[in-house]
């Protein structure tokens, strides 16, 4: 957002980071235990791991770049 205050992009980063960590962690749990949801297709691709990882990386980038108080 233009002007003062916390930028929109920081909030987006926080949300992506939270979601990324949650989903990535579940993916690791799934891989470690072999406990896959029975009705879901293509579990062999381990989607939660790579998709959660992508969200985490994007979240970190946005949080760092747009953190409050950082000089623009």
């Amino acid at each position: 957002m233009h002007g003062s205050g916390i930028p929109i992009w920081f909030f987006i980063g926080v949300l992506l980071l939270l979601y990324g960590v949650m989903i990535f962690s579940y993916g690791i749990f799934e891989l470690a235990t072999g406990n896959y949801p029975p009705l879901v297709e293509l579990t062999n691709l381990h989607t939660p791991i790579w998709w959660g990882g992508i969200l985490t990386i994007l979240g970190v980038l946005y949080v760092v770049k747009f953190r409050p108080g950082r000089a623009q």
């Binding site: 002007g3 949300l15 989903i23 998709w51």
Partner: protein, 636 residues
């Protein structure tokens, strides 16, 4: 015709609530604690954003116009996101399932040219005139009468559109989670009323950008994984052609993959449209009407911090708009071949009315009205006789799902714990962004264009902010009732298209004549708008009560409801333009000096400071045109 009945009494809509609540389809999935956490975090953040921004929404300029301090990127993403409600996600995924790639026209020719026209040609007039709304522009150009007609019709449309969003979201909750429809509508309504009521347009824009990111993060997986399973694009094509051998003999099996090739005749393509309807009805009237005069989307751009940002915003938005079919149209097509029944046979989706005819009795666990169900399935679906029999006998796993459920069904197919929560959150976010845009625009138009000029002209600034907040609460409450009207619709999109042609097409005629013809007069603007709306509603009612009239309205007896909507919009637009032209010739025009900032040729636009080439809006507009042309040729 399966569209909204404008004069439908509230009692008629309420009569269908018990039937809808009686849906007894088993939920497709049960949310895990992880999914619930994802959804709760999203709701928590949106409400918190509302409270955070409340302190920055104290004046009317801040509350209704977001302080006019948005950058081009934020305004551009918000501009596109405001259009990503139920209409964008479920409606068009369902339409792609029904009509194939033809549904993409609503994203490309039905959006891109108009978005560029808004940014490069019209935006300077909106921005320089400093209007707070589109009806506000009409007030400056044509006077209070035209403004009032536009404001009342727009406010009505916003309430109904908000109802569409609520209904679609409730359907998602019903299909995926088994949640009660009314409960879902109430939860989403309260959240939207809270965060828009507190933070105003700034909060709506803020959340729209947030939701834009979520929609891509949550919905992008479905087409990626779907394509992997279908064997890529070629595999998808092969399987669709193999599965659709029962389609009409006049439609080529590969017609689902062509945008233009089969539009030379109404009966030659799945949608039953003609290219003239697509180009002139959709590509010009409906598209230009929606993207350039519908305040729902224009409000984000008006909040830009300078003219260059206001011009760049729609251009930035157009890049993303061209990409949206990947997460909406493609899942619909994939659903055609990948969705399966429990016995692994291909699952066929049906219209909303067929689903309602086959509601299962809660007490007997069988179809409540077998006769109506059998008739509906025979006349309005392509279900096999064996499957129809299974439905009637209540065999396990044979519940019916509508076209509009294609996208959530695909999500359930590929998303496990966490990812399903993200996908559902993406849908909720999409619906809520649509609702937020609706109620925010409604609040501005109600306060500035109805309440202030017609009810209380002398209120203080804080009084109008209070009225704005209250109108959001009331608007949400009224749109809850409107949500139940949608239950009469065969497909959500047909309903929305009918609405567009009532209000948007005549409004486009008035705005274009006012903005580009100095001679257009105030009485002409008012009459053109009014008669255009009357024409559109009359044509709708005519076809409703005399279906054969579609041959006259849409120029062919083979035209579908969708096609009739396109042509009705075209006639309403032409009527509006013709009335304005004729009446203007017989009435006295305003002096040209009074039209500064309002009309092309009478306005001296401010000089913008030069920028480096890669920040020039014309460069990016040319790039959009090249990509747009390439896509249309590729999928010809």
């Amino acid at each position: 015709m399966f569209g909204l009945v404008p004069a439908l009494p509230a009692a008629g809509a309420l009569a269908h609530i018990p039937a809808l609540l009686a849906f007894s389809a088993l939920p497709l999935a049960h949310l895990s604690p992880l999914d619930m956490a994802v959804i709760v975090i999203y709701f928590g953040m949106t409400v918190w954003i509302g409270f955070y921004l409340k302190g920055r929404s104290n004046t009317s300029e801040e509350f209704f116009m977001a302080g006019r301090e948005m950058t081009a990127w934020i305004a551009g993403l918000s501009f596109v996101s405001a259009n990503m409600g139920s209409l964008e996600l479920m409606g068009w995924a369902g339409s792609a399932y029904q009509y194939g790639i033809l549904a993409t026209h609503w994203y490309w020719i039905g959006a891109i040219p108009a978005m560029l026209f808004l940014g490069l040609v019209m935006m300077p007039f909106y921005y320089v005139s400093k209007t707070h709304s589109v009806p506000g522009y009409l007030d400056l150009r044509f006077g209070g009468a035209a403004r009032s007609v536009a404001a009342v019709s727009f406010a009505t449309e916003m309430i109904l559109m908000s109802g569409v969003n609520m209904f679609a979201m409730a359907v998602v909750m019903k299909v995926v989670l088994g949640w009660d429809i009314t409960f879902s509508i109430l939860v989403s309504s309260v959240a939207v009323a809270l965060y828009v009521g507190l933070g105003g347009l700034r909060s709506a824009i803020f959340n729209e950008v947030l939701q834009f990111v979520l929609i891509w993060g949550g919905a992008l997986l479905v087409p990626i994984l779907g394509l992997v399973q279908a064997g890529g694009v070629e595999g998808l094509k092969t399987r669709i052609i193999a599965n659709l051998h029962t389609a009409s003999a006049s439609i080529a099996p590969d017609s689902y993959f062509h945008l233009w090739r089969d539009t030379g005749h109404f009966a030659a393509n799945p949608m039953g449209v003609h290219w003239t309807g697509i180009v002139f009805g959709l590509g010009f009237v409906i598209s230009f009407g929606y993207w350039t005069t519908d305040f729902l989307v224009v409000q984000s751009v008006l909040a830009a911090h300078n003219l260059r940002a206001a011009r760049m915003a729609p251009i930035i938005g157009s890049f993303f708009k061209m990409a949206v079919p990947f997460i909406v149209i493609l899942p619909g097509l994939l659903g055609l071949v990948l969705l399966q029944n429990p016995d692994h046979s291909r699952r066929q989706l049906v219209g909303e009315d067929v689903v309602k005819s086959c509601v299962v009795s809660a007490s007997e666990d069988k179809v409540a009205d077998p006769q109506a169900c059998a008739t509906a399935m025979q006349t309005k679906s392509t279900l096999t006789p064996e499957y129809q029999k299974s439905v009637l006998t209540g065999a396990p796993g044979t519940e019916l799902h509508s076209y509009n459920e294609a996208l959530p069904l695909m999500m359930v197919r590929y998303c496990g714990p966490g990812l399903l929560g993200l996908g559902i959150t993406a849908l909720i976010a999409g619906f809520m962004s649509g609702m937020a845009g609706n109620v925010s625009a409604f609040s501005t138009v109600w306060t500035y264009d109805i309440y202030k000029p017609l009810i209380n002209k002398k209120g203080s600034d804080s009084h109008y902010v209070l009225v704005g907040r209250l109108s959001i609460m009331i608007g949400v409450a009224v749109s809850i009732g409107a949500a139940y009207l949608v239950m009469h619709a065969h497909g959500i999109m047909d309903y929305v298209q009918a609405l567009f042609s009532f209000f948007i097409a005549p409004l486009l005629g008035a705005i274009l004549m006012g903005m580009f013809w100095k001679r257009a007069t105030a009485p002409a603007g008012f009459l053109g708008l009014l008669i255009g709306i009357i024409t559109s509603v009359s044509l709708f009612v005519w076809v409703k009560f005399s279906p054969a009239a579609v041959a006259t309205v849409a120029l062919s007896p083979d035209a579908t409801d969708m096609s009739a909507n396109l042509y009705r919009a075209l006639w309403a637009f032409l009527t509006s333009v013709a009335v304005i032209f004729v009446v203007s010739l017989f009435t006295k025009p305003r002096p040209v000096a009074e039209l500064d900032g309002l009309v092309y040729g009478a306005t001296k636009l401010p000089k913008e400071p030069p920028v480096v080439f890669y920040k020039n809006e014309y460069l990016w507009a040319v790039l959009v045109v090249v990509i747009f042309a390439t896509l249309n040729i590729l999928f010809w």
